[in-house]
């Protein structure tokens, strides 16, 4: 009974398993649910790319279990600087940069059962 109460008190968090981390916002723009998927709203366009300039990227992350979350960017383009344990980084955009979505992977540091989630982060050409 005590266990059941604890589960209820924690809401979605499962004390025995581990819930995955979540991307909350990019440069202050919160993700919204569209057709069952969390996406960045296109109208807000939080990542506008200007060739030859530096683009700053700030993430807001959440983990239901309170684990630290690492940030990974597979296939990141040249000039991309973002440490795994940071929530802010930048891209020195080359003058000939091709604009496409970036892959973002979040992985929590749960000691027994780390969870991983992936997002496509769109970029917008200025």
């Amino acid at each position: 009974m005590r266990v059941a109460v604890a589960v209820l008190a924690l809401g979605c968090a499962d004390p025995f398993l581990n819930d995955p981390p979540r991307l909350v916002s990019v440069n202050g723009v919160e993700l919204v649910r569209r057709r069952g998927e969390l996406r960045l709203p296109a109208r807000a366009a939080p990542l506008r790319v200007t060739p030859g300039e530096r683009l700053w990227v700030t993430l807001e992350l959440a983990d239901p279990d309170g684990d630290p979350v690492d940030v990974w960017w597979p296939r990141a383009p040249v000039g991309w600087v973002f440490e795994p344990d940071a929530i802010e980084g930048y891209w020195d955009v080359p003058s000939d940069a091709a604009v496409g979505p970036l892959e973002l992977i979040l992985r929590d540091q749960h000691p027994e059962n780390p969870r991983t989630v992936g997002y496509d982060v769109p970029l917008w050409a200025d």
């Binding site: 990974w72 597979p74 296939r75 040249v78 440490e83 795994p84 991983t116």
Partner: protein
């Protein structure tokens, strides 16, 4: 293209394929793995022997490896885009019981090319648990598509890898052009930095060609790859080579040789319906030692 197809339609038992090969963060050689399967030259056509090779690595060396295909028919054209086919042993045909090996498929020049609709059913006792339609869209007449599976025999158990193989029906003739050898493609893997426990090294890879959209695939014995196990082309040289880079943080507890592997699947194969993706790889051993 072929790896992407595979990633999209796998329904085989979990231990049939290392599905984590597709995960950019699962790059550690902490278990037996088949990282790549290569045919060289990258074409499967009767009369043109191709060499079948696999890159099988893990904490220990494999004792051997074998290869087989599934679903190829000599009476009708097939498209078997799933390794589930291997659950029906009647459809499995050995290619080699040791690798590397040379292979030439049977002569399929007599096959009809018109659209047909045969379906192979699985053997789950009633309802088919997999299927293989003929004439899948996207493949031209004159080609059958089948999976080739490599089984690597490690002391701790088998590891599996696979490749979708377009088998050309028309036999190779003396006047046909031989696809360029994969082995001839230039590649270099170098490092600089501190190869010591707790040290950091920068890894640079250059390749005579372009990888497919999945980028370059990296694997290491241990440590953290700061650019993950997938990197993009960072530099395109005027001579047609491409370059990429990664950064490896070596664990404090590691000393001795530390392997770094880069696997490339080129785009050249993906631009043709009759060529296998021209996979290649390079292995570097870092001499990690106390300063």
């Amino acid at each position: 293209m072929l790896p992407l197809l595979l990633a999209g339609c796998l329904q085989a038992p979990d231990d049939w394929l290392d599905q984590d090969l597709w995960t950019p963060l699962d790059y550690t050689l902490d278990r037996p793995r088949v990282l790549a399967v290569r045919l060289d030259p990258p074409a499967v056509v009767h009369g043109l022997p191709t060499t079948v090779e696999a890159l099988a690595l893990g904490p220990s060396a494999p004792r051997g490896a074998s290869a087989a295909i599934c679903g190829l028919r000599t009476d009708v054209r097939v498209t078997v885009a799933t390794v589930d086919c291997f659950s029906n042993t009647a459809l499995v045909a050995p290619v080699a019981d040791a690798l590397p090996a040379t292979w030439s498929p049977p002569d399929l020049s007599g096959l009809a090319t018109e659209r047909t609709a045969t379906v192979f059913a699985g053997d789950s006792g009633g309802a088919p648990n997999w299927w293989a339609a003929l004439d899948a869209s996207g493949y031209p007449p004159g080609v059958s598509l089948v999976p080739l599976m490599v089984t690597a025999d490690f002391p701790s158990g088998p590891a599996y890898g696979s490749l979708l193989v377009p088998v050309v029906h028309a036999p190779f003739t003396a006047g046909d052009a031989v696809p360029p050898s994969v082995a001839d493609r230039g590649r270099t893997l170098t490092w600089e930095g501190e190869a010591r426990p707790g040290g950091t090294v920068t890894l640079q890879f250059a390749y005579q060609g372009r990888p497919h959209a999945g980028g370059f695939h990296w694997y290491v014995d241990a440590g953290t790859l700061l650019r993950t196990g997938r990197t993009a082309v960072l530099t395109e040289r005027d001579d047609g080579w491409t370059e990429t880079e990664n950064v490896l943080e070596i664990p404090d507890s590691w000393s001795g040789p530390l392997r770094v592997v880069v696997v490339v699947v080129g785009v050249e194969g993906a631009t043709s319906d009759t060529l296998v993706g021209d996979t290649t790889w390079e292995i570097l051993t870092l001499p990690v030692a106390e300063p």
